[in-house]
C-alpha cells in the first residue's frame, strides 16, 4: 500500500509567454522525505517550488498537496511554508514578531499566550532562545537563516519548501546548517523540498535527488544512485566531478561495450542505452575510480601537471598524450609520502567501478524515458 504523496505533480507545464520554464513534470514525493530539486540555473527547479507555494500557477497539469488539487488555492491557504532565498524576513519586526507572524494570521485567532509560547518553542528549536527582541539587521546571516526556518516551521506546515537556503552562508556555516537541517527534518518528520544548484548540498542532505535540466526531470533517485548510476551525460557531468572522454563503440562483450578512445586505447564500459557499432560516445570516469601507479603499470601513461592537496586525499591533473587532461583522486596515506609531484610520469589504471558510456548526442531517448512518470516510493 502506498501512502498519499505529500506533493504530487501531474503533467505540469509552466510557460512564460513563449518560454517554457517547466515542461510535463510528473513527480510524487512520499511523506516525510527530504527531496532536493537539483539543476543549473534556469532548469525550472525554482518554478516548481513556487508552484507548490502557490506563487505561480501551472499553465497545464495539476499540483496536489496531500492529495488535494491546489488549482486556484492562493498561497495563504496552502498548508506549506517556504524559507525564501535571502530569507525575506520582515525588517520592521523583531525576531519574535517575525516568527509569530504566521501564528497571528491563524483564524480562529490564537490566544496571545499561545502565540508567545509557540514562537518561543520555535526559536528554541533553532537555538535562538533569548534572541526574540533583537532586530533583524542585528543578526548574522546564519542567525537570519534560522529565524527564517523558525518562522516557517512554527506554523506546522505539511511540507517545508527551501529555496537555496544555504546559498548566502560561508562554507563552514553551510556544512553546519546541512547537518542541522537534516536533524530538524528527522525530528519534525515533515517533508522538506529543497531547491539548490549545489550538487554537493543536494547529495549530502536529501533522501532523494531530482535532477532537472531544461524544464524536465532528468533523473530521480537516491544520492548514491545519482552519483554512481547517472542516467545520462548531463547528470554524469553535473553531479560530482568526472572525466569525460570521447570515443567510438568498437564492440560488445556481454553487457559491456568496448570503447576505442582517441589515442587508440580500448577500454570496457557499462552503458545506459543500446549503442551501435561505431557510434560516438562519451565515457565518464570518476576521479576516485582512477588509480595512480608506477609509470609502467596502467593502460594510460601521463605526466602530473597539477596537484591539489585536500588533506585526506589529493587530486591530480594528469596530462595524457592523445586524450587530454585527466583528473584523478588518490588517498593521501599519512607518513607514506606517496604524493606525486608535478612533472612526474605516472600510469593511470582503474581502481574500482567500470566506466560508463553515453551517446555523444544530447537529444537522445534518455530524457523522454525518465521524465515520463517517475514515482519514488520509500
Amino acid at each position: 500500500m502506498t501512502a498519499v504523496p505529500d506533493i504530487e505533480f501531474r503533467g505540469v507545464t509552466k510557460r512564460y509567454g513563449s518560454v517554457t520554464a517547466v515542461s510535463g513534470i510528473d513527480l510524487a514525493v512520499p511523506p516525510s522525505a527530504f527531496v532536493a530539486l537539483l539543476g543549473p540555473s534556469g532548469c525550472g527547479k525554482t518554478t516548481c517550488l513556487r508552484m507548490i507555494g502557490g506563487f505561480e500557477q501551472p499553465s497545464e497539469g495539476q499540483v496536489f498537496i496531500r492529495g488535494q488539487d491546489m488549482a486556484g488555492t492562493p498561497p495563504y491557504r496552502r498548508p506549506v511554508n517556504m524559507v525564501f532565498q535571502q530569507y525575506a524576513l520582515f525588517p520592521h519586526l523583531d525576531v519574535e514578531d517575525n516568527v509569530a507572524y504566521g501564528l497571528r494570521q491563524a483564524r480562529p485567532r490564537l490566544s496571545s499566550r499561545e502565540i508567545t509560547s509557540r514562537a518561543g518553542e520555535a526559536l528554541e528549536m533553532v537555538r535562538l532562545a533569548g534572541y526574540g527582541r533583537r532586530k533583524i539587521h542585528e543578526l548574522s546571516g546564519g542567525q537570519q537563516q534560522r529565524v527564517a526556518l523558525a518562522r516557517a516551521l512554527v506554523n506546522k506546515p505539511a511540507v517545508l519548501l527551501l529555496d537555496e537556503p544555504l546559498a548566502a552562508l560561508d562554507k563552514k556555516l553551510r556544512t553546519d546548517m546541512q547537518i542541522e537541517l537534516q536533524n530538524l527534518q528527522r525530528e519534525i518528520g515533515i517533508t522538506f523540498v529543497l531547491v539548490t544548484h549545489d550538487q554537493e548540498e543536494a547529495l549530502s542532505m536529501s533522501d532523494f535527488v531530482c535532477v532537472m535540466n531544461g524544464g524536465r526531470i532528468v533523473q530521480l533517485g537516491q544520492p548514491s544512485e545519482i552519483y554512481d548510476e547517472p542516467a545520462d551525460l548531463f547528470v554524469a557531468d553535473f553531479v560530482g566531478k568526472t572525466n569525460l572522454l570521447s570515443g567510438t563503440v568498437a564492440g560488445h562483450t556481454g553487457d559491456l561495450v568496448e570503447i576505442a578512445l582517441a589515442d587508440g586505447t580500448v577500454i570496457a564500459a557499462r552503458k545506459r542505452t543500446a549503442l551501435q557499432q561505431g557510434e560516438a560516445v562519451s565515457v565518464s570516469l570518476r576521479p576516485e575510480s582512477l588509480s595512480l601507479g608506477a609509470p609502467e603499470s596502467g593502460p594510460f601513461k601521463g605526466i602530473v601537471r597539477n596537484r591539489i592537496f585536500l588533506g585526506s586525499t589529493a587530486e591530480y591533473a594528469i596530462e595524457v598524450q592523445g586524450i587530454g587532461t585527466l583528473l584523478a583522486k588518490a588517498d593521501h596515506l599519512i607518513g607514506h609520502g606517496n604524493l606525486f609531484k608535478p612533472g612526474e610520469p605516472v600510469a593511470i589504471g582503474f581502481a574500482s567501478g567500470t566506466p560508463l558510456a553515453f551517446p555523444e548526442t544530447k537529444n537522445n531517448g534518455t530524457n523522454q524515458r525518465v521524465d515520463k512518470h517517475v514515482e519514488i516510493i520509500s
Binding site: P74, N81, F84, F90, H92
Partner: protein, 287 residues
Amino acid sequence: MHGSRLRKNLLTAMLLGPATAWLVVFLVLPFIAIAVFSVGERAPEGGYQAAFTLAQYANLPARATAFWNTMVLAPVGALACLLVAYPVAYYLALQAPQRWRLILLALVVIPFWTSLLMRTYAWMYVLGGRGIPALLAYIGFEDVRLINTPGAVLLGIVYGYLPLMILPIYVSLERLDRRLLEASADLGATPISTFLGVTLKLSLPGVMTGFSLVMILLLGEYLIPTLLGGGKVFFIGNALVDLFLQSRNWPFGSAIAITLVLVSVVVLIAANRISTRVSGARRVDLI
C-alpha cells in the same frame, strides 16, 4: 601627509562653500533679523523699532483665526492629499506594467511645468460663477457656491500638492522587496493583512516624508487661499503678507513667522519619530 589633508579640506570647502554662503546670506541672516524683529516694537510710521519685549508674542491670539485655519487646513489638506496619492503611488509602484511606469510617472510631474499661479487661476474660473455652478444651475441646482469656500481651498491644495505626495510614497513602495509580500502570503496572511501588516508599514517613511513635505509647505501657503478662498479663508501666509506689506507691523509679523517655524520643526520631528518607530527603518527619504 600634511599636504593631502590640506587638499582634502580644500575640496570639502569647495564642495560645501557655495551652498553654505547662500544659506548664511539668504536664510540664517534673515532668520536672525526676523528673530530680533519679533521682540521689537512697531515704529510709529511702520516698520521696526529696537526694543526688547514679548508683547508681540502675547498678541498672537489676535491672529488666532489665521492660525486656526492653517492648523486645520494644513493637516486636513495633507491628509486629503495622502488619501488621493497613496492609491496612485501604489498602482505606479506595484501594479503598473513596467514599460508604462516611466510615462505615467512623467504624467504625474508634468503639471509642475506650468506655474501654480496659472493653474490656480484656471481653478478660479472652473469653480467661479461661470464654471461648475453655472453648469449645476443649468440642471436645476441654483445658487451653489464653490469659490471662496474652505472646500475650494482644500481642492486647490490637493490638486497643487499631489505630485509632492505621490513621489516619495512611490519611491518607498518601489523599493519594497516583493518577496516580503510573498513571505507574508506564504505565512497565511490574506492580501488585506499583507497590505496592512507589511506594505503600509514599510511605505511609512515615504508617507511621512510626503505628509510633512506637503504639511510644511501648506503652513506657509499664501497663493491658494488668496485666490480660491477669496480672503475669507485666511491663512498665516496671508496674515504675514498683510502685516509686512499692508499694515507694516514688522515685529508682529516676525513673531508670527517665528512661531510658524517652530510649529514646522515640531511637525517634522514628530513625523520622523512616528515613521522610524513603526517601520523600524533608520533612513529618511528625500528630506
